[in-house]
Subunit: 109 residues, 4 copies
């Protein structure tokens, strides 16, 4: 695997975990009707992070384009999550924004 | 691709679609707090159906074991969905039970 | 599910199947050393098609962007496959180009 | 997320990386015709590891069953990889056997 991807893979894996945790926790919240966009985006973001990780780990010729899309989805998920006070949402927002930043660096390289 | 898988692949793809539609529709329901188990299982069931399809389409040596797991998850999703009157849930339950039956046939072959 | 996606979802599912069949068949070819790019792209293309299907079936706000990426990967996979005479490669190339066309229509809508 | 899954998630993520690296490296080997089973199993194993990670991170009621299947696929992949002297195969075999062990512990809990 190309070592220039190492930081971005790490950020994607942390984002994946934060999104999956947030998905599960949102579904357990009392006011789940406030969390529906978060639940949707958590699923989508976790899945694109997994796809981006695979692309980088297999030296895909599409790694840059995939990371660009991943950054867009991460940003959208982070912007939704940061509006909610739950710690799982705040953690997820932070992980999403870090991942978006690392993905943009790969996309621009 | 082994043609004996054809019916099961079709049932998995229909189940995948029904689960993804139900996931989206549940998140738009007024009483989403009633639908949280449905939302969880829709995601899980859609994903295992996709994995089972890939296993069959690539002639995986694990196709039978994967179909057995897929059948269990489909049944669980179907049992949850059938308790809700929404047409997307009733459609999903029917697709899940059909898929479970086809997957059991592969698992037992 | 939004019905405007129907043709594109169908094209993605046919491409997914063609790519997975081609992946399996390439690995069984005598001269597998000629097929390595095909094997790589078949995996990547099958996976992005599955992701695009899910995005459309769940009415993702990213469906257009995902379809644009899917179209690029499908074209690349089609261009590789069409160079090989095996029927599984020719079938796969045709399915990839059809899918790319349908994805471009969604992306441009 | 349930903290009892922490070790198993880590082992799955390491196995996922080892499998994806091995997939890519096998396709670059001179004698790729010797590596076809490895390439197949690397893909399948990477994908089931990703699915198991998601199941654990979302507290799926199917986490144990999924880990049992994951352990079987990891063992099969490890047994194939260990027969090849390439360092990517030896690394992958080790990661697969560790992951299988951690998955069996979850399955038996």
């Amino acid at each position: 695997m190309n070592s220039r991807y190492q930081d971005c893979i790490k950020a994607c894996l942390e984002c994946l975990e934060a999104c999956n945790n947030c998905f599960d926790a949102c579904l357990n919240e009392e006011h789940v009707n406030m969390m529906t966009e978060c639940i949707r985006l958590d699923r989508e973001c976790a899945d694109i992070c997994a796809y981006a990780v695979k692309a980088m780990q297999t030296n895909s010729p599409f790694a840059q384009q995939i990371c660009r899309l991943c950054a867009d989805i991460c940003e959208s998920c982070g912007n939704e999550c940061k509006q909610h006070d739950h710690s799982h949402c705040q953690n997820c927002a932070a992980a999403c924004f870090r991942c978006a930043e690392k993905c943009r660096q790969i996309a621009a390289a």
